[in-house]
Symmetry: C2
Subunit: 198 residues, 2 copies
Amino acid sequence: MARTDQTQAAVLGALSVLPMTGYALRQEIRDTLGHFWSESFGQIYPALAELERRGLVERRGGDRTGSSTFAITAAGTARLRELLAEPAQPAPPRNPLLLRLFFGRQLGPDACRALVLDARSRAEEQLARMAAVRREPADDPASTADRPYWLLTVSAGEHAARAQLAWADEALAALDELRSDDGADRPPSSRPTPEEHP
Amino acid sequence: MARTDQTQAAVLGALSVLPMTGYALRQEIRDTLGHFWSESFGQIYPALAELERRGLVERRGGDRTGSSTFAITAAGTARLRELLAEPAQPAPPRNPLLLRLFFGRQLGPDACRALVLDARSRAEEQLARMAAVRREPADDPASTADRPYWLLTVSAGEHAARAQLAWADEALAALDELRSDDGADRPPSSRPTPEEHP
DNA sequence: CCTTTTGCTATCTGGCAGATACATCTATCA
DNA sequence: TGATAGATGTATCTGCCAGATAGCAAAAGG
């Protein structure tokens, strides 16, 4: 899965749990895989069409406009295992928050503080979401076999969120330090304007 | 910066530290911003052309083939501040490792273990890279003012890597548990084949 | 009966990564 | 000198993908 067919794997995986319409697929992916995966309609519908064409997925219900449910086929399950077995290539990183902080001197400590505080509250929200998922009972007997694996991803989300919180507090302290250093030089309201090199 | 112009911000930011050629830009972004950002040539060159067209960047040296160095202009610095000030929209998550673990029952505990071990070693490498960056002396006097901000991103990388390590160890233990549970039911070499729902 | 809302399907634009191609400039050995 | 290789440097093309947009149908509600 060299950075391609990722959508197909996610769609097949979701359908391996339960047959769904394209719309429900999107809801399910957003709600259940939301903390580590996302898909857009622009990806899901072409993927479903392609999967149907290749016999990996079967369309139930009206094939004309209206709700039609898709179910995974035996060939689809085999294909899913194939896709999951391919090495997990980490996507090239792109963290807009860290980009801003890296060039933070252009913004000044106060604006950076606001950015970090924002990230901090997002991490707290994620931690709360993970706790809510943990509290959900494993009522569906079909999902009990999957649950231990799901909990692995929940745990990953928790570790990441807690790390983000710890980092944010550390960063806030460091930014306060910077701010008071600046304050010794010039009035605190003025934004630092670094020199050019033309 | 609603998920657009991200490349321009990164390019302007890099040029705000030092004038460079497109090639050096790519090297610098890979080496210095590598743990939280990436750019490809296919983005950098069009971005430079567009920035030059808008007068935010200035081409020094031969404008025909060969090395031409780009420097940020005053307007470019202003534009950089503008871009950095826009809210940091987190990109939609896409974690191929967690996708595989979520549907891990299709793979079996052993394959999942291998995936987690791989991620663990990548986290260890990142931790070592961050330690190396910290050891680098702040010899360049022009960069001393930027350094506290850079260290914020290094710290973020360290926290994330350590969290990944802790999670990996926890996950490995959980997967071992799963493996021994399975072993009670069926021979350990057979892959679990979950039921379909056709 | 009309209007709004929600469920659902689909398309289009543009950002972006990765592969590829090619040209120039060293450097090292023949 | 010449040749080969490797680093430097510029550029384009393909295809994945997110997000915006738009068109319907059925239900709800007035």
